[in-house]
């Protein structure tokens, strides 16, 4: 089945220790998103890729970086995690183009990050 996969599902890191979260997709979608979701809150968009074009949200901290080496994979790097970065990180994909404005986003299962 076509899907969005995130690894690891649970990640524990220490304060200030860099961490990388990964996302892969078999849907061949050209748009990939990273969201941060804290408990009882809505997903908050950090950034997205439209093909290779990187689009950063204005309020995304510099501590968060992303890489998309190819269509299938996308990575979220947190350079120096703080206690406030503990959250669920969701990857999502969508197709774009003329019809893409109407298309849904497919979410991965998420990675729950704990910062000690």
């Amino acid at each position: 089945d076509a899907m969005v996969i995130q690894n690891p599902r649970y990640q524990v890191t220490q304060f200030g220790k860099p961490v990388t979260l990964s996302c892969s997709q078999t849907l061949n979608h050209n748009v990939m998103y990273w969201y941060q979701q804290k408990s009882s809150q809505a997903p908050k968009l950090l950034f997205h890729y439209y093909d290779k074009d990187f689009n950063n949200e204005a309020d995304t901290p510099d501590n968060f970086q992303s890489r998309r080496p190819n269509t299938s994979f996308c990575f979220l790097d947190i350079r120096s995690p703080g206690l406030g970065d503990a959250a669920m990180y969701l990857c999502a994909t969508s197709s774009s183009g003329l019809a893409g404005l109407y298309n849904e986003q497919f979410f991965g299962p998420g990675t729950r990050l704990t910062v000690l």
């Binding site: 809505a42 997903p43 968009l45 074009d53 969701l90 109407y102």
Partner: protein
């Protein structure tokens, strides 16, 4: 700007109906609805398009009032499986970037009891 959802939470019995509202202060291009169960990823339910047709899912339907910049999600004859948090996601046609990202509402927690 984040759309506002109401109510924040609702509890109902199996078989009862519920309405969840989503309001935006900006003109909307389209509205998406997602359901998220605890500890799981959001799952797409439907999309409502400005001036276009809607898509449905099971016994769940929705409306989109462009003039009022509002959308409502209707759940009829609720089932236990409907429990979860419902989010609306709005698309702003003036947003930057080639892809139109979603801004998610505050969420409505729905609990269906037997």
């Amino acid at each position: 700007q984040q759309p506002v959802q109401s109510p924040q939470a609702v509890i109902l019995r199996e078989g009862e109906d519920a309405v969840i509202n989503c309001s935006s202060s900006k003109a909307l291009y389209s509205v998406h609805w997602y359901r998220q169960k605890h500890g799981e990823a959001p799952v797409f339910l439907m999309i409502l398009l400005k001036g276009g047709e809607q898509k449905g899912h099971e016994k769940i339907s929705a409306s989109f009032n462009e003039k009022k910049q509002q959308s409502s999600l209707y759940l009829t004859a609720s089932q236990l499986s409907y429990s979860g948090t419902y989010f609306c996601g709005t698309r702003d046609p003036l947003s930057s970037g080639s892809a139109r990202q979603l801004t998610f509402g505050s969420g409505t927690q729905l609990t269906v009891l037997p």
